[in-house]
Assembly symmetry: C4
Homo-oligomer: 200 residues x 4
Amino acid sequence: MTNETARIEAFSDGVFAVAITLLIFQVHVPPHEPPGGLRIALIDLWPSYLAFLASFMTIGVMWLNHHRLFSFITKKQDGLIVLNLLLLLVITWLPFPTALLAEHLRGPHADQQTAGLVYATSLFAIAIVFNVLWRYAIRIDAVGDHANVVGISRQYAIGPVLYAVLVVIAYFSADWCLVISALYALYFALPPSLLRRRME
Amino acid sequence: MTNETARIEAFSDGVFAVAITLLIFQVHVPPHEPPGGLRIALIDLWPSYLAFLASFMTIGVMWLNHHRLFSFITKKQDGLIVLNLLLLLVITWLPFPTALLAEHLRGPHADQQTAGLVYATSLFAIAIVFNVLWRYAIRIDAVGDHANVVGISRQYAIGPVLYAVLVVIAYFSADWCLVISALYALYFALPPSLLRRRME
Amino acid sequence: MTNETARIEAFSDGVFAVAITLLIFQVHVPPHEPPGGLRIALIDLWPSYLAFLASFMTIGVMWLNHHRLFSFITKKQDGLIVLNLLLLLVITWLPFPTALLAEHLRGPHADQQTAGLVYATSLFAIAIVFNVLWRYAIRIDAVGDHANVVGISRQYAIGPVLYAVLVVIAYFSADWCLVISALYALYFALPPSLLRRRME
Amino acid sequence: MTNETARIEAFSDGVFAVAITLLIFQVHVPPHEPPGGLRIALIDLWPSYLAFLASFMTIGVMWLNHHRLFSFITKKQDGLIVLNLLLLLVITWLPFPTALLAEHLRGPHADQQTAGLVYATSLFAIAIVFNVLWRYAIRIDAVGDHANVVGISRQYAIGPVLYAVLVVIAYFSADWCLVISALYALYFALPPSLLRRRME
């Protein structure tokens, strides 16, 4: 049963693992500055750290939810595999807007805005695809009769709404866009264990 | 039985996952432009997005078919492992022509043509190796007695023909080469679920 | 039982594998020097080799202990997954201070010190998170009744102390910081097999 | 039984997969040349292709033999894990000498020699560590009573000798060093299936 989806999960885990680990390679080591200048140069890198952290949390939490989602899915179908590839497409895309935002977070306001909108829109796209995948799994009856399927559906449905709000926020402030995307990740990571169930 | 090939699949999944995730690192963040210039610079990156998308789809669909192929293979032999390594060789090679095409898609016509021909020939090589692997698996009787083996063989046999046509297209237009390679990927991703069977 | 944590381990293995393999990409090939100058240029790269070695050993040994730790954990809980993500966060962060130290180990003293402190503090953070993860696993009773749980707890508890000492060392010498962090890794790799048990 | 070593194999597979896939990222896309100059520039990259191919084959064949080796190992011990980490250390190191040789294969003779010697010595180190790992596995009786253990030992024992010869060859010609290392990889890939057994 669960073996049905084992290789999809293994491949997805690989993609998530590579994407999350490569984020740090977008943080560039400052070159040789005037002696003693490294401390300042490192502090000036804060947009890169913040972008690394927000995207790490987002991908980590996406993995977490992907893991949860597939623990409910008991059969596979070609459509599921293709939708899963679509999810991986938007996940592997994320390092690009992350690097973009890190690079331009202290740039001219118009460029901050552009980078922030690209970043927020990318997260919005991930939320949409994730919901489509989940709903498709329910529709093809791949999901078992767990009582909490309804609860999960409701929780995931909030995702696109929250990330649509994030796009609006990004229009006004790229900084807040990053901070709030990290908070969103916390929300999607923590509540289920508090609100819904204890996996034992 | 299926454990026989488990570690080959795990290693292959790893290679596919790394190759597909690293494609985005060939899309370079535009440096600081004149204020407000980022929007234009991002739009000008379209060849990189297109190349990313086409190669993501190609590798994703190759993984999908590799996954299908190995779900039929019930024993392993050294020859199979070596042919699988050969397939991984052409897969890991793909990020290079992808980056090449992205870089030169807006360059002089002669260079577009060169980059397009390298890209299309690489995809052609993948199609050839994939067919050799599949036929070898049938020849050594590693493939079970599934009714649809013949159907799959026929579908895969079209691959080299389609990609030979792609080489000809690349000779005339690198743009069309990319677009059509993405359409080919869709063809190899979708039909089997529609035409042949429902995996349940 | 152990399947409960299988996918957490698979994802973590992926992250460890990517992080450890990418360390070498921080060692840059010297460009074309005056003819015959490559030998000298390669020797001058010793800080990069040393940083590669120390970080490889650290991540390798972290994987080793992660592997041991999860061999004791028999059930999962959301908290465990989130703490594990936190551990992966500090692990994936490590390539940055590694590259930082390699780049500035022969720089002005103040910059050596800065880079050394960032490196040592990062290792200290890993030791802290690892202990928190282990203690949490004990607290939620996810750990079986193995006699050597107490022994492991004691051994791990030394970690934060040793790495706090490393921060002090880094204040005085970035070179010694690297050498001693490699020795620490040896300590965490070897003793358990000598002192405590033989896995058979 | 085989589960004992499952996670070591999974982690090793990950490292092998990342190392082998990243080799292509050492082949750099030629920048914009005079119009029509791309074809020549691509041809001039042959040292990079050759180095990519030789190292791909070497890592691929190392994975193949690692896979074979662990299919015989039925229990694990801390020493085995540490030796396996040592093997992964020399494997992850290989992309550096690969890039080094690709970069300097057309450089001044003295630099070719330096790069060739570093490359050959790295392969020699891999052969040594692989033999130590195999002999250790036999010594701790982790290897089952397979008739072909003796045959494998003999075959592996040739490795260090062949790679010591490669170091001598590299002293005279970096080109031949690359070509012969690819041939060595073929030798270690193919014979076992022809000479020794048929895995079924």
